[in-house]
């Protein structure tokens, strides 16, 4: 901190020092907390930091993170990274089509999974919304059901579906779809709960049935939000679709883990570049769709 410019103090002529020691002492007497926390709080804080540092150090020891091992790992990582340049470019049509099919499979898995998940989650979400389903224990049960579905990782679901439907993208589609039911149904239900009651009352007052009150009172309010939520989840499913291939559920991840397993790092880096590029393009596209057709909606998770 550089010295602050002199300012006229309250005690007569302006001195070069803006704050006199007496003023500091006065302030210290008036606001002791601003200068120093009480002893007990300081001890608790110190203890907390020590415990934290101790745990961290023990983890380093337990995980065998010796400087030597880290250094050797970084050297190997540098070697692996050096395969990035020059980037590997596939020349034969057979290889190119293999990679493109992988990318298309990943996108297809994300799209189909999100679509199926959304179609099933949509009716279910009304059962979980407080302003539609007025039976508390039923609503509570449905909500816990969503939570249980969400507890399954997409990857674990994929492993289960691979057992039943064989290796390939179909297991990935179903894994994304089932996982998506849990997430979307919860978010949809919250969106439905956030709607205004007035249009519903209007529909009921002019003689509409309960179904009509949902169709003309709630749906117009909630549809843009639902579409926006679904788009966001589609984006994140494109990201998670890339890893489903690693356990054998089709898509680009399978090719990537295959190349890494065979130590063909140059090709692996090119595939990672393509994944990043694909995610970028999908994000840009869905951003465009959102701003153009849906309007602004901020965030889901």
């Amino acid at each position: 901190m550089s010295a602050s410019p002199p300012r006229p103090s309250r005690s007569g002529p302006s001195s070069a020092l803006a704050v006199s020691p007496t003023e500091i002492a006065e302030a210290r007497a008036r606001l002791p907390e601003a200068f120093r926390a009480p002893l007990l709080r300081r001890l608790v804080r110190l203890g907390g930091w020590l415990a934290f540092a101790g745990l961290f150090a023990w983890c380093l020891y337990d995980f065998d993170a010796s400087p030597e091992r880290l250094w050797n790992g970084l050297l190997r990582l540098g070697k692996v990274l050096s395969f990035m340049f020059p980037p590997h470019i596939w020349t034969s049509w057979k290889e190119i089509s293999e990679i493109l099919t992988g990318l298309a499979q990943t996108l297809s898995m994300a799209f189909l999974g999100s679509l199926l998940g959304a179609l099933i989650a949509f009716p279910l979400s009304f059962l979980g919304a407080r302003n539609i389903n007025r039976i508390p224990f039923l609503r509570f049960g449905v909500r816990r059901g969503f939570d249980i579905i969400r507890a399954f990782e997409t990857l674990i679901l994929a492993l289960i579906f691979i057992r039943a439907f064989g290796l390939g993208p179909l297991a990935g589609v179903l894994a994304i779809a089932v996982g998506e039911i849990g997430v979307l149904a919860k978010l949809y239900a919250e969106a439905i709960e956030n709607t205004s009651k007035k249009p519903v009352e209007g529909v009921v007052a002019s003689g509409g049935s309960p179904l009509q009150s949902i169709r003309f009172g709630i749906l117009p309010q909630v549809l843009p939000v639902l579409l926006s939520i679904t788009l966001y989840n589609f984006e994140s499913n494109v990201r998670s679709g890339t890893i489903l291939g690693i356990v054998g559920a089709g898509g680009i991840g399978f090719l990537l883990s295959d190349r890494i397993g065979a130590y063909r790092w140059d090709e692996a880096w090119s595939i990672i570049f393509l994944i990043i590029a694909m995610v970028y393009v999908i994000d840009a596209l869905s951003d465009y769709i959102r701003t153009r057709f849906i309007g602004h909606y901020d965030g889901t998770r």
Binding site: M1, D62, F63, G73, V80, I156, R163, V247
Partner: protein, 303 residues
């Protein structure tokens, strides 16, 4: 013939036009979706036909979804352990027969998540000031830090784990680094959004009394963003526990490796036991972190 006022006629005309337009849009959107559905279905084997063995021993062609469903039911049925009331203790012991190994690996999983969250939090915190439009030292720094965060966030932790297992050897260290790198990207973005919403007046105050850029961040911005940072970090810790429980599948430590062994040895009930362990852990962490978050928010309100 009753006389209809012209305003009503105009309304009817406009209403009909509106209806036509919305019907057209609906048809168009439906057509697009059906086309996309058919394309993606063909890529993801949705209509594949597979062979099944019927009960009388003959083979038949069935749509793969229908063929797989009974297998799926069978599989899930096998994962449910045999629990009876009169020998519940023994059955539970039988179900969690590897509990010593699992408990140890669960601890490892949580520690991987802890380390990764700490490292990711520090990295994301440092980068988030460079990646916030209002606090960044310069446009080049902004661009570089933002692209770094984006790439770290886009590549899934499992891919990082594959790479790091090769570099650092199998074990939890590779998992920590993989999850940490992904966490830097995720948290850095969230933090930088928090930073972009700070009140700039305290920073101006620090600047006016002669503070450097560093002083402005330290005394002007950090006190404002701290509560948000803590709650985002706690949320992320929970997500990282989930990812750490998976990451062992490619050999990066934690419970994931047990999933792999259980699958390959066909130990069906182990799968449900592992699932129960992770579910309970995540629920407990969720509950505790919510308590802490409410406590912090409460502190902010009284402060």
């Amino acid at each position: 013939m009753t006389l209809v006022p012209p305003s009503v006629l105009a309304f009817e005309r406009d209403f009909a036009a509106q209806r036509r337009r919305s019907r057209l849009t609906f048809l168009l959107v439906t057509a697009i979706f059906v086309t996309l559905f058919l394309i993606t279905a063909s890529f993801s084997d949705f209509f594949k036909v597979s062979q099944i063995t019927l009960s009388d021993g003959s083979r038949a062609e069935r749509w793969v979804l229908l063929a797989g469903l009974p297998r799926l039911g069978e599989y899930l049925w096998k994962t449910i352990p045999a629990l009876s009331l009169d020998s519940l203790g023994a059955d539970l012991a039988n179900w969690f027969w590897r509990w010593k190994v699992w408990l140890w690996l669960l601890l490892e999983t949580i520690l991987i998540a802890f380390m990764a969250t700490v490292l990711g939090c520090v990295g994301g915190f440092l980068l988030s000031f460079l990646a916030a439009r209002n606090l960044t030292p310069g446009p080049l720094t902004l661009w570089i830090s933002r692209r770094t965060l984006e790439i770290a966030r886009t590549v899934p932790e499992l891919v990082f784990a594959l790479i790091f297992v090769f570099c650092f050897g199998a074990g939890p260290l590779a998992g920590v680094l993989a999850v940490a790198l992904h966490t830097v990207g995720a948290l850095g973005k969230l933090y930088s959004e928090v930073n972009e919403n700070v009140d700039m007046r305290p920073l101006e105050g620090v600047k006016a009394s002669g503070g450097t850029w560093f002083d402005q961040i330290r005394y002007g911005a950090v006190p404002q963003i701290m509560p948000n940072i803590i709650s985002y970090t706690l949320l992320r810790f929970e997500i990282n526990v989930r990812s750490s429980s998976i990451i062992g599948y490619v050999g990066a430590g934690g419970l994931g490796q047990e999933f792999r062994t259980a699958l390959s040895y066909q130990e069906y009930t182990d799968l449900s036991a592992l699932f129960v362990i992770i579910l309970v852990t995540v629920t407990v962490i969720d509950w505790v972190s919510e308590k802490i978050r409410h406590h912090i928010i409460g502190l902010e309100r009284t402060a």
